[in-house]
């Protein structure tokens, strides 16, 4: 087990290092000098040089890369070019919108997908299964930002149950915060729920064809009891992987949904920073998202190895 963990840990470190290098490289070849951008066309060369020195842009690129990476490791993301505030603070305040939104959506998608997937698997081939599968086909095909607009049209503009956008923060209490995030979370959750329901269904069907289910049936369990007692637990493994993967999709997917609802989350931060050439913020947010994905995968892998000893030896 220790050997497996160490091996996975080494590959985690390499992935993160390469990812940081790629992100830095992509941002660095971006046309446009942040200092020149901030000072405008008529800037004096001396002012420009002074600002470049202040922003730390005058040192060689490799040195800036190292400063950035070592800062990241210590939780110091540097100062925003435009706002001169610590990037970590900007990200932290935005995370308070994006992270709860992603978790909310994940909860919703699981809450919809589990019953739907189980129901479809239990009624395989019958009308109920066909209906659920048809609905998931549709759910996968609907762009979430369009679905978001339709939600706004129906529930915010026509019915006035929710506000059409914006987020006042968590100061108004948990309920008010969740209320404001409900429409975005539903919009995000729908396509994910459709995918998850399909995975749940096919995982269950696969498990239900196993010998141990037949044994359970032979010893007198009804199909339903076998499904609940033995099938579900075994089907959860592939389902949990997808849930792990979906979390990163949701975090990234919230970028577009935040645009629809004017939510002050990470996505809007990225867009604002790109248009202001505040590259250090862009770098850090993207790195954070990639870090989250790589970490989730790492944790899922470890969890598997813990649950299933075969996987430890297999790799």
């Amino acid at each position: 087990m220790l050997r497996f963990v160490l091996k996975r840990f080494a590959s985690l470190a390499v992935s993160l290092a390469v990812a940081s290098l790629v992100i830095f490289a992509v941002i660095e070849i971006a046309p446009g000098d942040p200092a020149a951008f901030m000072l405008g066309l008529n800037a004096q060369p001396e002012t420009l040089a002074a600002l470049r020195a202040e922003l730390g842009l005058d040192v060689p690129k490799w040195q800036r890369y190292l400063t950035w990476v070592f800062g990241l490791v210590q939780g110091d993301f540097g100062l925003s070019y435009t706002y001169r505030t610590p990037v970590s603070e900007m990200i932290a305040s935005r995370l308070w919108v994006s992270l709860p939104l992603a978790l909310y959506a994940l909860g919703l998608s699981t809450a919809i997908a589990f019953p739907a997937g189980i129901y479809a698997a239990a009624r395989r081939g019958r009308a109920g299964d066909m209906t659920v599968m048809g609905a998931t086909q549709l759910g996968v095909a609907v762009p979430n930002f369009w679905f978001a607009m339709m939600l706004v049209l129906i529930f915010a503009i026509k019915l006035r149950w929710f506000s059409a956008g914006g987020f006042a923060g968590w100061d108004g209490g948990l309920w008010a915060g969740l209320h404001a995030l409900t429409l975005p979370a539903v919009a995000l959750a729908l396509p994910q729920a459709a995918i998850l329901a399909r995975v749940m269904r096919s995982a269950l069907l696969e498990v239900m064809a196993e010998d141990y289910i037949r044994t359970a049936r032979a010893k007198g369990l009804s199909q339903r009891a076998a499904l609940w007692r033995h099938g579900l637990r075994n089907a959860l493994i592939p389902v949990l992987t997808i849930i792990g993967l979906q979390f990163s999709f949701l975090l990234a997917g919230s970028i577009i949904i935040e645009q629809v609802f004017y939510l002050p989350g990470l996505g809007r931060l990225v867009f604002q920073s790109i248009s202001a050439r505040d590259l250090i913020v862009v770098e850090s947010v993207v790195m954070l998202l990639v870090f989250a994905v790589i970490m989730v995968n790492f944790i899922v892998d470890l969890a598997y190895a813990l649950v299933d000893p075969r996987l430890r030896a297999g790799r």
Binding site: A30, P31, W146, M149, V152, S248, A252, F271, V286
Partner: protein, 270 residues
């Protein structure tokens, strides 16, 4: 059980047909601004109504299909063009350093939330259809590389490949002449699915203003235009949204249908 194939094929054909017909005919010129006729609901003069500039939405949808199809098609082409050879190469040198490097590179691209990187690329190199294609295409590479390698690995163990090796064929020739034809079915099915994902991705990028730029019509940007007007002119949002759904749904059904045709075993297993 050919319903998926037929329905999917029909829907996809409709969209492709609309795109092709738009080259020679649209109900009205989609570039003509007609402000007095702005925001008209669907009717006889404008089948799907008009937008805030009085442009005919039906015509814009038809021309927009061109953009969606072109972007997604080229993106899939990039993914196949680079991913399939990489996958074949990795499988031919299975276990070697090259294989390891290719697969780890794949994992790395997978680790990047695709949308974030697409936004990054289009933002850094400028918004536009070409950069959107590149951004979407990059993420198709590991998909095709992985699926090709996976299928090719088991093929390399088969007798007919052994026979080819004994006959003295090089790994390159075996890959091209024996492995590739045998993974083609899988690639076509995956290609259909990636194509539909590409349509969705293109719509998302254009929606946030990073895809095709005006005056090229695109479904995503039509939705962005519709957003602020959704309360007074919901038809502006409905039409492009439904166009996207029909296209993606059609392609997904087509993919499912093709898979059933190519591999009947999968059908019974499900």
């Amino acid at each position: 059980m050919r319903r998926n194939l037929i329905l999917g094929g029909l829907l996809s054909c409709c969209v492709v047909l609309a795109a092709l017909v738009s080259f020679v005919w649209t109900p009205l010129d989609h570039t003509v601004l007609n402000i007095p006729a702005k925001l008209q609901p669907p009717g006889a003069a404008h089948w799907l109504g008009t937008d805030h500039f009085g442009r005919d939405i039906f015509s814009m949808i038809m021309v927009g299909a061109r953009t969606s199809i072109a972007v997604a098609l080229v993106a899939v082409g990039i993914g196949m063009g680079l991913g399939v050879p990489l996958g074949l190469w990795a499988a031919a040198r299975r276990g070697a350093l090259v294989d390891e490097l290719i697969m780890r590179g794949n994992d790395l691209i997978f680790a990047f939330p695709s949308l974030v990187i697409a936004i990054l690329i289009t933002a850094v190199f400028g918004a536009g259809a070409v950069n959107a294609i590149i951004a979407i295409g990059i993420f198709n590479i590991p998909v095709f590389a992985r699926i090709t390698r996976g299928a090719a690995l088991s093929l390399w163990e088969r007798e007919f490949i052994l026979a080819a090796r004994v006959a003295g064929k090089s790994a390159v020739r075996i890959s091209a002449e024996h492995i590739l034809p045998n993974v083609m079915n899988l690639l076509i099915v995956q290609g259909t699915i990636q194509f539909s994902l590409g349509i969705l991705a293109e719509a998302g990028l254009s929606y946030v203003g990073l895809g095709a730029q005006p005056p090229v019509p695109s479904w995503g940007r039509m939705l962005a235009d519709a957003q602020t007007l959704v309360s007074i002119a919901p038809h502006m949002a409905l039409a492009p949204g439904l166009a996207i759904i029909v296209t993606v749904l059609g392609l997904n059904l087509l993919g499912d249908g093709l898979r059933d045709v190519f591999d009947p075993r999968l059908r019974t297993a499900r």
